[in-house]
């Protein structure tokens, strides 16, 4: 999956799980500002990890706070070696 497609998928996943539209939001927008609780962040990232066939390292995962940080991890996963090996690419 291209990084652009992965980011489009992320917007769709956030919309579905958290009922929030992140299109056009500042990258510094925090999940707290969007009223997305920490468990919902887990549900979003887990869905993305399953789609991209890669994982966010636990230490990074524990500290994810903004839309930009999540997008950064999605881009990394989409371009990483695991993603390149997944059947969807």
């Amino acid at each position: 999956m291209s990084t652009n497609d992965a980011l489009i998928l992320l917007r769709s996943v956030v919309r579905e799980i958290a009922q929030v539209d992140i299109d056009g939001l500042a990258r510094t927008t925090t999940f707290t500002e969007l009223d997305i609780d920490s468990l919902t962040v887990v549900e979003i990232t887990t869905a993305m990890e399953e789609s991209l066939g890669a994982k966010i390292p636990a230490d990074v995962f524990a500290e994810l706070a903004t839309i930009g940080e999540l997008e950064e991890q999605v881009v990394r996963m989409a371009g990483g070696p695991e993603a390149a090996m997944s059947p969807s690419t």
Binding site: D37, S38, L39, V42, E43, T45, T46, A58, F61, A62
Partner: protein, 319 residues
Amino acid sequence: MSVRVRSPHARILGLGDYRPSRVVTNDELAETIDTSDTWIRSRTGIGSRHVAAPDDTVVSMAVEAGRKALAASRLSADSIDVVILATCSIPRAIPGGASMVAELLGCASPAAFDLNSACSGFCHGLEVAASLVCRGSARHVLVVGSERFTADWIDWEDRGVCVLFGDGAGAATVGPSSEPDIGPVVWGSDGSGARFIAVPDGDWAIRMDGRNVYRWAMTHVAPLARHVCDEAGVRPADLAAIVPHQANLRIVEAVARAVASHGAVVATDVVDTGNTSAASVPLALSRLVREQQVSSGDLVLLLAFGAGLSWAGQVVRMP
């Protein structure tokens, strides 16, 4: 070398529980810490928890639950050959609590040992008990999960943790059976997540990396639940109830969705009991019996998981 008379199988004979009388609501917690009923309920499903009185110890609560389990199974204390105390919150490691539980119940010098596998301790203990019975090492085993977190292990200023836990004890007696009434265990561990739920070096209270715990649970627990059913050769439709570890209602509901047993009752004891670690599964199971939501002969899926990370689960037939 001679061998003892073995039993082909094992079963649960009776259940018992003990819940401290003091109930602390979310609103009561919100009077002293920065939280709210809405915040706690939306993230955990918990509305209240039982909190131990000063004289409610891990041992005393285990004794009360054990006494009820003995009564339910019509066993006398001196018929118990082994006492297993599953706990991770006993304040001192030496001595363990199991021998004191046995003494206070009036058991006649049984083997007695503590088992610390945190929240999955009771399900581990159930498998150990069944194995002891089947090997002939014991005819009757008392397995108790008992935890008192609130007095010794909780930092009441850590709002991400203190709202989660409660105190209590649940027990089961296990004995011989001609049928496989305690199904094959599915158990394991993943030490790479040991730091996710821990009392860190130099600290005294339980700290949690809630996000990573929840991520682990959401990706592992549902497949484990299906695996437990497969190992037991039980279809989800055959289950009368599902009793996942009562850590968080969102995880409980995810397990229920994954098993997809539409007719099964799903234990939601967490709502007014909180997370009682090793006591959570037997507390929830005892409650289903008391409320007549399960009947004798019913099949119930048990699945516990927690610090370690560790997990254990099995299908059991209700006594």
